[in-house]
Point group: C2
Chain length 359, copies 2
């Protein structure tokens, strides 16, 4: 167990922020204590401000997928028709969750690597849409603001839910101002904390529409409990503390604080795109303007297998990610989303260029 | 934030084991790495041995309630009739989960503090039973082995599921030998780890019967993934590591290892019962033979409010627990389930006796 662990260049989980690591070393806090209630209240309010909503954020103990399912079941009745533009593994997951919840997803299929466009909206009335902001499997940032406008221009009552799992903190996102009803994210991506805590941001309109659904993932139950600073069930308290500590350390209190921070993180990730393109690599996202700030995805150069490239990065102390679904074995992905010690990211760029230099 | 935190005498969460704390300080492990797969495999196999099953253990990212719901939905079709003997907050939860999953619970009501008896089994055919081993809200250890025998003597195909959230590691429990089909538990009780990881132990018969249900809590999906050392979704990897580290540090590899360990923990908890009874306090469990090793629950002495007692313990650096549901404001609860430094538990006993000495 003394073997050194690779540092993560993966698009989640990521290297923990030192404030998260420090907070994990604290003694167990009882979730029914006043200190825990203050933390839950404070974190919910801060996350709501960062998501640009006057609604509320509800915490969910589980992965981002748990929050995706909780949002779908709380916001749509069985039989509801929802547009799901599928262009990667995580948009596919929206469709699977919608089906498992008894919804009637209207799926439009798009090439993995393409950004969905407003004109892709199918010619059929819908009750809502399940959109993906940063599609982690392709490195594409979808124009959710424009997509939401198109949906709501046609169906004003449509409920628009966004998967912001890897986009949160890294790129602008605002609920009310963008016409979004809900956004979900989790602890182990831009928040640089351990996995285990997810959350659903709900604009006021969505907050009123919540319907009870299931038991553990029931957002109506959580809304009642969390308004009292409680959670319905034992929360992953260490992760609540870690996320709070990271936001505090980064000085991210309100949405305006995100601008400079997001630009810096986006630039760090864009550097991988720049280096790759200079080396002749083909990015997966079709167009520079749709490259996600959360991950840089490239097709593998001719003659280089993913196993070989991954092993070469491992030899330099890095873990990278491969492709998923139809892109498995065809692409590789890196990310600057996590925490890096001084000089560490420079070393990553250097290794990237060396390992991918054409033979 | 520099205020010292109280040490926990609560029946979960509990003071973390040093091995858990140490493991939390390690760098983030990627859940798709070979090291993570080995950990997941090893932990599942070890938990299965400790639960006395040749079946499998499936990990669930969430609280114990998440695992309770996952087990109910995976093991019973909508409309199934299940016996739910209710004698406390957590057996009430079984009934709520059964209803929310569309089952037809046959609820028998028992006094909070009484142990359910085999003769309480209702005179009606059922498809299964949802039992509570250690009822944390009352401190009662229910005779699940005898209850399961009664259920299966009448309905051999009945599926018996046990909430072992606070009994696991502290008192004997065996799936196949006791005629149990499934047992659920979590990380933040006897395992002395952070909250966030739950699990379902499934005997071979139950493992074959799993049906797909929902998405995030779907055990069929988890069975496929976890047989490959994966989990379907990002797991709370830090907690997986912590639980593994604690079991390793305690030397708990197989069921036989639990005997001495369980006796020691049970004796530590029984000491609270002994001290309380010597002080004239009335235990909540009706009879010494049904006192749970996970928590000691007493009625508050005349003239002493819970807030006052709780504050007195807090003044000595301890956090205790109050009553829930109909017992709220009428009882208090302590527990020796967690980790205590040398001499610390003796100090707890001394404080307990001093603070509860009749005026």
């Amino acid at each position: 167990m003394a073997v050194e662990r690779p540092r993560l260049l993966t698009p989640g989980p990521v290297n923990l922020h030192p404030a998260a690591i420090e907070s994990l070393a604290r003694p167990q806090l009882h979730h029914r204590s006043p200190e825990a209630a203050a933390l839950v209240r404070g974190l919910r309010a801060r996350l709501a401000r960062l998501l640009g909503t006057h609604g509320e954020v509800l915490l969910v103990g589980g992965s981002g997928t748990a929050a995706m399912e909780a949002a779908v079941r709380a916001l749509f009745p069985s039989g509801a028709r929802v547009w799901v533009p599928v262009a990667g593994k995580f948009s596919e997951r929206w469709a699977e969750i919608a089906r498992s919840a008894g919804l009637d997803p209207v799926v439009s299929e798009h090439p993995w690597g393409a950004a969905v466009r407003p004109e892709d909206l199918p010619q059929t009335r819908t009750d809502g849409a399940l959109l993906t902001h940063s599609e982690t499997s392709t490195g594409v940032l979808h124009p959710v603001r424009e997509l939401a406008s198109a949906v709501r221009a046609r169906d004003p009552e449509a409920v628009v839910v966004v998967d912001a799992v890897t986009s949160f903190l890294l790129t602008p996102l605002q609920l009310e101002a963008w016409g979004l009803d809900a956004a979900v994210s989790g602890s182990q991506k831009g928040l640089m904390s351990p996995p285990g805590l997810a959350f659903v941001g709900l604009a006021p309109r969505a907050l009123e529409r919540l319907r009870p659904a299931g038991y553990y993932l029931d957002l109506v139950r959580e809304r009642s409990a969390q308004r009292e600073g409680q959670t319905a069930f034992t929360p992953p308290m260490q992760v609540v503390e870690a996320v709070h500590a990271v936001l505090e350390a980064l000085g991210l209190k309100r949405r305006a604080d995100l601008e400079v921070y997001g630009r810096r993180k986006a630039a760090a990730n864009a550097r991988f795109y720049g280096l790759g393109e200079a080396l002749g690599l083909r990015p997966v996202p079709e167009g520079r303007e749709v490259q996600s700030p959360a991950t840089a995805a490239f097709y593998l150069p001719e003659g280089l297998g993913y196993a070989e490239l991954s092993a070469a990065f491992a030899g330099r102390g890095w873990r990278i990610a491969g492709g998923q679904g139809p892109l498995k074995g065809r692409i590789f992905r890196v990310s600057a989303m996590g925490h890096f010690e001084p000089g560490e990211l420079e070393r990553a760029y250097t290794d990237f260029s060396r390992l991918l230099r054409p033979a």
